[in-house]
Symmetry: C2
DNA sequence: CAGTGGTCTAGACCACGAA
DNA sequence: TCGTGGTCTAGACCACTGT
C-alpha cells in the first residue's frame, strides 16, 4: 500500500485513507470542504479533488453535490451465492416491481423464445439499511409465471414461492460474470459513482426439459460484493483456463 | 449511450469513441498529441486529458508516457471457465515460473495447512499475442506436487499433467469472485492502467478426503474477461441471493 | 535535443442543497 | 441567499521517449 513515487494527490489520498481506516474520520462523517482541505494540504483545488477522486474510486468516500464529501459506511460486503434462482430467502430486504411485457432482443435470445413473446419481468432492488445494494432484473416466460401476480408484493417470499412452487425441476444454472462500469440508470439506482466498476451477472436457469425457465440480469456493486460459485465433481473432469 | 447533460469532456470522449468504433481510428494507431487535440476541440489540456481518462477507464485507449495515446486492439474477450484446475489445455500461450516456498498467512489459511508448510508456487502469465492477459498464482502443498518440478518448464502442459496425473479425485472447486483495482505490481504485469478494475478469483479445490489440493489466486483484466460458472442440480435445491 | 504525456496552479463560473 | 461540489481555463514545470 506504499506508493513509491508519490505524487501529491497520492500523499493526500494516503493521509485521508489513514484517517478513515484508523477511525479518526468516522463513517457517515462529513469531510472538511474541498476548499478547506486544499488550504490545509497546500494544494490547488483541482489537485485536492483529484486526491478525493482516488478515494471515491476505492469506494471510501461519497461525494454529494452541494452537501460535501462523506465517509462511506465501512462496506459490509455481501456475498452473492451462485447456482440459485430468484432469492428464496433474501439476505437483505428487497423491493420488487412486477411488469408484464414482451421479450426484447437480448432477453428473448437468452430465454430462447421468439422476440415479442410474453414474459414477466421482476425488478428487484435490495437494500442494506438505507443504501441500495444490488439490482436485479429477472425474466420468466409468461406461461411459467403464475397467472395472478400481485400488483406490488411486499414480500419477495411470495414471488419466490410462486416461482419455486409449480416449476419443473431445475437442472442447470449458468452464470456469466463480467466487470463493467454502471450505466447512468444503474449508477442512479444503486447510488454509486459511475466510475465504480460493477459485477454484472447474467444468469440462465434451465429445467429438465432443456427449457430456459429464468433469465436474471444482476448488477452488484464492485466494492462490496463477493460472488461465490461452487462446482462439485463426481468424476475427475477438468476444465481449461485462459 | 447518450449522455443527457453532456459536459465537454463527455462530448469529446463520445466523439473519439465513435471514431474508434467506426474504425476511423484504427487499432494500435497513435492519436494526435494531446496539445493538438486540445486545439482541435477548443478546450484546455486538462479538459482534454480528462476526456482521454474516460476512454482509458473503458480500456479503449492506452497512454504511453513520452510516446502518445494509442488505440487499443479491439479487445478479444477471453472466457474464464469456472470449476476447473490448473489449465489443462490453456487457450492462450502461458509462461510459467515455479518456486518452492513456505506458506504465508493467506495462502496457508486457504490451503488449511500450518504457516510455514512447504508449498509449490506456480506463477502463470498468459499472453494474447504480445499483450499479457491474465495472471495466476497457484499454490499446491509440496507433498502433492511432483518431486522434480522442471526449473522452467516452457510447456505448461507439463505442469498440468504433473498436477492432473497422480492426484486424488477432485470433488469440489469453490471460487470466490470479486472486483477490485489492481495492485501496482499486478497492473505492471498485465500492462493495464491501475484505474482499470480487475476480476480477482480465489479458487480452492478440494479432493475426496476434504483436503485442499490447490489454491489459485487469479487476476483477470475486467475489460476483456467473461467468467462462466455452471451449476448442475440433481434435486430442486435453491440458494439465496443478497 | 524536440516532442510527448504527467502533474500542478490560481483562479473563474456554473449547478446543487439547505436555510 | 450562501456554502458546497462540478467543470473549465491558460498557462507552468517536470519526466519520459526518441533522435
Amino acid at each position: 500500500m506504499i506508493s513509491s513515487v508519490a505524487s501529491r494527490r497520492h500523499v493526500i489520498a494516503d493521509d485521508l485513507r489513514n484517517l478513515i481506516s484508523t477511525g479518526r474520520l468516522k463513517a457517515r462523517e462529513r469531510l472538511p470542504s474541498e476548499a478547506e482541505l486544499a488550504v490545509r494540504y497546500q494544494v490547488s483545488t483541482p489537485t485536492l479533488r483529484n486526491a478525493l477522486a482516488l478515494l471515491q474510486a476505492e469506494g471510501l468516500i461519497e461525494k454529494i453535490h452541494g452537501k460535501g464529501n462523506f465517509v462511506r459506511r465501512p462496506l459490509p460486503r455481501v456475498t452473492y451465492v451462485g447456482g440459485g434462482l430468484v432469492p428464496a430467502q433474501p439476505v437483505l430486504p428487497v423491493s420488487v416491481h412486477v411488469k408484464k411485457l414482451r421479450a426484447r432482443g437480448d432477453v428473448a435470445a437468452l430465454l430462447r423464445v421468439a422476440a415479442g413473446s410474453p414474459v414477466t419481468e421482476l425488478r428487484f432492488l435490495s437494500h442494506d439499511g438505507q443504501t441500495p445494494h444490488s439490482l436485479a432484473h429477472v425474466y420468466v416466460p409468461r406461461d411459467l409465471a403464475p397467472t395472478d401476480v400481485p400488483a406490488d408484493p411486499h414480500w419477495p417470499q411470495e414471488v419466490a414461492s410462486l416461482l419455486s412452487g409449480s416449476l419443473p425441476l431445475l437442472t442447470e444454472v449458468q452464470e456469466k460474470v463480467l466487470v463493467r462500469l454502471p450505466t447512468p440508470p444503474e449508477a442512479a439506482a444503486l447510488r454509486i459513482s459511475s466510475t465504480l466498476a460493477i459485477l454484472a451477472v447474467t444468469r440462465v436457469a434451465t429445467d429438465t426439459t432443456g427449457r430456459v425457465i429464468e433469465v436474471a440480469l444482476l448488477v452488484l456493486p464492485g466494492d462490496r460484493t463477493d460472488a461465490v460459485f461452487t462446482t462439485r465433481h463426481t468424476t475427475g473432469e477438468r476444465s481449461a483456463e485462459g
